[in-house]
């Protein structure tokens, strides 16, 4: 039997963001972006911060931002779990831009102060992905 759909659940600790069948699911794996298709092998993978893309009935659903988490692929369905998941409408562009600037300042600014470089890099990346989702960053690229 060939499966034609993936049964997915996208969960944050506080709510269910999406639940239902999709044809494909794109996820930001730590080793690179991956797309899951129906009939995928059983897998557990760690996810980076980035965008989750879903395709339902041949049409792309609005992407979601995730802050990094895990995906559990089993024979019965796919569960995406992350600390923070946001829909497009929930992203506060002003706040994100501020955190992007802050991360940039930390990275480029005063080198003598001890900063947590990986943390600043992660923050920068999160901000960039959020901006990518809102489309506000398009003119800058």
């Amino acid at each position: 039997m060939t499966q034609t759909e993936l049964n997915i659940k996208i969960l944050s600790p506080e709510r269910i963001l999406y639940q239902g069948p999709v044809q494909s699911l794109g996820l930001p794996g730590v080793n690179g972006y991956m797309t899951l298709l129906p009939g995928h092998a059983v897998m557990v993978a760690q996810l980076d911060s980035g965008l989750v893309a879903m395709s339902v009935n041949g049409k792309a659903e609005p992407s979601l931002f995730i802050s990094g988490g895990f995906v559990d692929v089993s024979a019965t369905g796919v569960t995406v779990m992350a600390d923070v998941i946001e829909k497009l409408a929930e992203i506060d562009v002003e706040r994100v831009k501020k955190s992007q600037t802050r991360a940039d300042e930390r990275l480029l600014g005063n080198k003598s102060t001890a900063i947590d470089v990986p943390r600043a890099l992660r923050a920068k990346k999160r901000a960039e992905h959020r901006i990518e989702l809102t489309g506000a960053g398009k003119s800058a690229h």
């Binding site: 659940k9 944050s12 506080e14 059983v42 760690q46 559990d72």
Partner: protein, 288 residues
């Protein structure tokens, strides 16, 4: 025989108290509904995450992880007490503290001592009263708990565990079963006890792990502790509001009963006074 004026004053005072307890009951039931929703909303993530960690652990087999390894050298553990900030919630806190004390006493027989961390003002007050070694105190944890708060608290505890001289971390909280049943519980969060035995099973051999088990295990376990902490906070909050709702409900009923008795007493007293006056008048008239 109590003065009629005094009885009247008491009736008014009890009625005022009743108004307060009634209002508190209404507020608690609204808060409880919200807290109950939050507990339900958090369940899918929690269950999903636990299932996933079990899978990873099954594949991991004997891969060492700092959060699962057993320690036994220090004979000292950390006890986190999750209480409410305010009282007036029936026997909720005292039940919890009783359970925690019993646990500490049992463990003491095995030679294990505890340092404590208090999440909630009442827990801090209690720890000081019984002279436990209180390291940290935090208030307002059961005030609409957010995941970010759970993360912060959990990371603090994990850091203490990894740095410090502790064999384990136990959390004492009131588990939320239903609106009518809340059970004080002591739960071990560290070292992590996976549900499955750590032997790789036939089916687990087919699971792909990305990137690799040794890299995914620690962050997954760390997240699991945060998720558990979040659940504990949500349950403690739901328990608090459920308990306060019940307590305030019975307080209101009690006040009603007291008012009824006092009113009866007042009316009797008034009748007695009238009768006495009549007797005085008639006997006065007879004497003339």
């Amino acid at each position: 025989m109590a003065n009629l004026k005094d009885i009247k004053r008491r009736i008014v005072s009890v009625k005022n108290t009743q108004k307060i307890t009634h209002a508190m009951r209404l507020v608690s039931s609204a808060k409880f509904a919200r807290a109950n929703q939050a507990v339900i909303a958090a369940r899918p993530y929690n269950d999903g995450f636990e299932r996933m960690v079990d899978k990873i652990v099954a594949v991991a087999g004997d891969t060492p992880a700092r959060l699962t390894e057993k320690r036994g050298q220090h004979k000292k553990q950390l006890l986190v007490l999750v209480s409410t900030d305010r009282g007036l919630c029936g026997g909720l806190n005292s039940g919890l503290f009783k359970a925690a004390s019993r646990f500490v006493k049992e463990q003491a027989e095995a030679g294990i001592t505890f340092d404590t961390v208090a999440w909630g003002r009442r827990a801090g007050m209690f720890s000081r009263k019984v002279k436990w070694n209180l390291l940290l105190e935090r208030e307002k944890v059961t005030d609409k708990p957010k995941y970010a708060l759970a993360k912060q608290l959990a990371e603090q505890v994990v850091t203490m565990y990894l740095d410090g001289a502790y064999d384990g971390v136990q959390i004492a909280f009131v588990e939320y079963k239903s609106a009518l049943s809340q059970v004080p519980t002591v739960k071990q969060v560290l070292p992590v006890l996976p549900k499955v035995t750590s032997k790789p099973t036939e089916s687990s051999a087919h699971i792909l792990i990305e990137p690799v088990v040794s890299e995914i295990l620690e962050p997954a376990l760390a997240r699991l502790i945060v998720a558990q902490t979040f659940r504990i906070l949500l349950e403690a909050t739901a328990s608090e509001h459920a308990a306060r709702m019940t307590a305030m409900d019975s307080a209101t009923k009690n006040a009603k009963e007291v008012v009824r008795k006092l009113t009866l007493q007042y009316n009797r007293g008034r009748q007695a006074a009238i009768t006495r006056e009549l007797i005085e008048i008639t006997s006065g008239a007879q004497a003339v």
